[in-house]
Amino acid sequence: MSVSACQIFDFLEGRELWKIERDEIASPGFGSLRRNLRQIISRLGDSDDQLALDIVDGLRPLLSEWLTVPVPFDQSIVDAITDLFGQSEAVEACWGHDIRVAYEAAVRAGGALISSENPMRERLRALIQKLSSQGQIFKIYCHRRARPHFESLLPSFEGTHVQKLAFLHSPSEYRQVEPFDVLVKVGPLRVRGWGSAPDALVTAPRFGTLAQLVWSGSADDPDFGYDPVSPTSEPSETKRPSALRAVSDGHGSLRWTTQVARFGEDPDALSNGSADTAIDDLQFLHDVLRHRDKRSATLVQIDDSHAILYPPHSKVLCFDPNPSSKDPIDYCIPDETLSERMFLIQPNIADVNLGGATAQHGAYSQVWKRRLTEEFHSNQNDLINRLRKAGLNLVHMRSAIEHWCEPPSNVIHAPQQMRHFEILIQVLGLDDLENINRNQASSPWWQRAWVEIRRSRGEAIQSGFLEREIVDEQLLAILHGLLPQIQERAAERASFEVPIPLRSDVHGSFIFYPVIAVEHGFHVPETELKIIQELKTTDKWRD
């Protein structure tokens, strides 16, 4: 409770009216890019073909990011699209002429954008300069990973009157901020997913003015500004920003007013009829995802590039470094009692099915990654052809292989599916190692290497060889014995590993991951839950 309630109420009592200044930006080039990608997603999203669905999963986060983050219009936009599709001829061969036409139009539109600056960035820069010159205290609400795109707007503040940018990234950060003048937000007010923000921006403002910049067509969620005291919402087709309404008509209500200014226009959208201009791409993308078989999940970010997704009400083993905590090691619920100052505990227990000695983290991966790197650098095309022929037919194979070649970090970068990994090992000729070690091992080499990958993703405890409750009890007892050591290591606020003492019945170690952020608004396939994922992978499941 870093901000006193008195400060907040003094601020609320001192104002009669809160303002939303909404800038709606249109651009012909970006509009064309959006339309063509939407067309592709619309067509491929209904497909049963896994490759088509992979393309859709790749396009969703791209388009969502461009709509909610002030990215620069540069070559990376075109590259991101062409990396997903490859050659035009192959696109036509797979999905027909219409998709090829839309794809080529999207690439052309993306290429045309490079010659001009993103108008969203222009408006944002002007806004920041204006607020600074007026001496207003402002903060930017955005996702952590969007921050560099804001910071690159004005690379140097020295010698200028522009304030150093201040950011808010989560409800908990917003909870602790003292009242200020202006909140800057790019993208619509959404309750979940890309560009989402806490309802409290509207129901419990800590600022007088919300400066909102959105692409044309991007509507705020109709029920944004939710208060459980009055949970009934207007029908979704009304589509008007909820902030136009009073938060509550009863006691304690806050009054909002909205001013909308439009910048630029998209003549093609207008000529295509009003239906096109009314399409909200983020809503469209959300609907595409919702139709697929997925479970809602909460994301727990554990370092700059990794996270774990948990289904609702999961109980996860945690360590609370707060000295006043009565039960520093306990099970927490990510969407309830897990907070950003805690550590996730991942037991890394030796698996009896491994055969032979317990593998060290990365022991198998060092072998197959070395071979993969050698083959990839000696003849990329040959390796890709051999993999495709053996049945590993990913869309963006080249970048996938590059990714698998990366050295192990918290996780071992490898194919997502076991079948794909088996093919990779066969193609690399590493199954021969099995013959060499046959006397020592009970399972094929690729299976042991796969177990190592799964364990690095945190799957070992789920498929544990002992009855779950017995393991849990033992682990808790061991962890309590290690508490002084854990508390000392936790002071560094980085991930660390504590070996299980040799005298214990259980062998292995505990890996402690600091909780960087807890985010809601994901829909995830069942098989991808509770394992360490790369953040960029999790983006495709963001609402």
Partner: protein, 358 residues
């Protein structure tokens, strides 16, 4: 000053004091009690005394994290000080007998000390069978206790000691606050409560009698966190300072010799701080605690006031909102109770539901 000590009562019998209390939050400057804090205290103070069959559930939604639940509980505590039925004295002997029954029939021979949730015995605490007298001397409950004839018997060195109901008021379950203090001077002071709720009616005997009908259900992050938040609020009257924690008289937050007018439910461990709980009103601190309390058997007959802040992710807000919608099947908006409340300061919203009468 730490703890709540009675100050010399020099005011007349009138329940109005010449000056109101001052208020400070988080060590900031003293000021008159802020509107938001006043509203919350009054919300608890004006909450109707529970009537059988007319259960009420309220949700108070705050724009920021605060000690709001503690303040509502404080208002309800002052309300109960004026209620002559808000005392444990009347049911004390029965409470001792219930405790004795638990000890003799269940806990004494139990092999699982003490995991009621695993044993599924239906109890929440172990009954150790120990009773203390007013001097602090300990006795063990005798197996000669006669439940049919409602006669509590304690074991003493030379045999047994049957306890008459009148004598039982000097006894208490070990670890619990005294039921009634003999000396009024050792009871709770009147002035801080009157200075906080001007004109409140206070029955003098209630200041020296414990009451377990009002419950503060703490945050799911644990008792320490709940207490820390309440410690951050302080009141000052006549050069005496009282923290909200002191004024709430929760047993483990106060000196052991004083009475307790609020019991505490730890939402993290899901345990009460007392054996004798029958909350007529529970004030739940936070969204998760509110949902837990609504679901628990022990609170099914209680009025419940949930107090939460809105700076939460949407999923957490919707869990509470959906619960309120579910409740509307059996409850209706209670405009009468809302009408009793003062106007809410900007930023606080509140909803009160009352059970539909068949």
């Amino acid at each position: 000053m730490s703890g709540l000590v009675a100050i010399q009562e020099s005011a007349s019998d009138s329940n109005c004091l010449p000056m109101p209390a001052l208020f400070s939050e988080g060590g900031l400057d003293w000021r008159p009690i802020s509107d938001w804090a006043e509203f919350l205290i009054q919300f608890g103070y004006r909450w109707p005394i529970a009537t059988p069959g007319q259960r009420r559930i309220a949700l108070v939604s705050m724009p920021c994290d605060s000690a709001a639940a503690g303040l509502v509980a404080l208002g309800a505590l002052v309300r109960d000080l004026g209620n002559d039925t808000a005392t444990n004295v009347n049911g004390h002997y029965e409470a001792l007998l219930r405790y004795a029954r638990q000890y003799i029939k269940s806990c004494r021979n139990c092999e699982m000390r003490c995991h009621p949730e695993q044993r599924r015995c239906g109890y929440m605490h172990e009954a150790t069978g120990l009773i203390r007298d007013k001097d602090g001397k300990r006795y063990r409950i005798s197996e000669l206790t006669d439940f049919d004839h409602k006669c509590l018997v304690l074991a003493i060195e030379r045999g047994k000691w049957p306890i008459l109901p009148k004598r039982a008021l000097d006894l208490r379950i070990d670890g619990e606050p005294p039921t009634r203090l003999i000396s009024a001077a050792a009871g709770l002071p009147t002035h801080p409560y009157l200075a906080i709720v001007d004109g409140a009616k206070i029955i003098p005997s209630n200041l020296r009698e414990s009451y377990s009908g009002l419950c503060l259900a703490g945050r799911v992050s644990g008792e320490n966190e709940s207490r820390k938040v309440c410690d951050s609020i302080r009141f000052r009257y006549c050069d005496n300072e009282y923290s909200l924690s002191d004024l709430l008289t929760i047993q483990d937050w106060s000196a052991s010799s004083t009475v307790s007018r609020v019991i505490f439910f730890n939402a993290r461990t899901e345990k009460f701080d007392t054996h004798t709980f029958s909350p007529a009103l529970a004030v739940a601190d936070g969204d998760s605690c509110f949902l837990k309390v609504l679901a628990r058997r022990e609170f099914q007959q209680s009025d419940i006031i949930g107090v939460m802040h809105r700076n939460l992710d949407r999923d957490s807000l919707e869990l509470v909102g959906n619960k309120m919608i579910d409740l509307r099947q059996w409850y209706m908006e209670d405009s009468e109770t809302i009408g009793r409340m003062p106007a809410a300061p900007r930023g606080i919203t509140a909803l009160v539901l009352a059970r539909r009468i068949a």
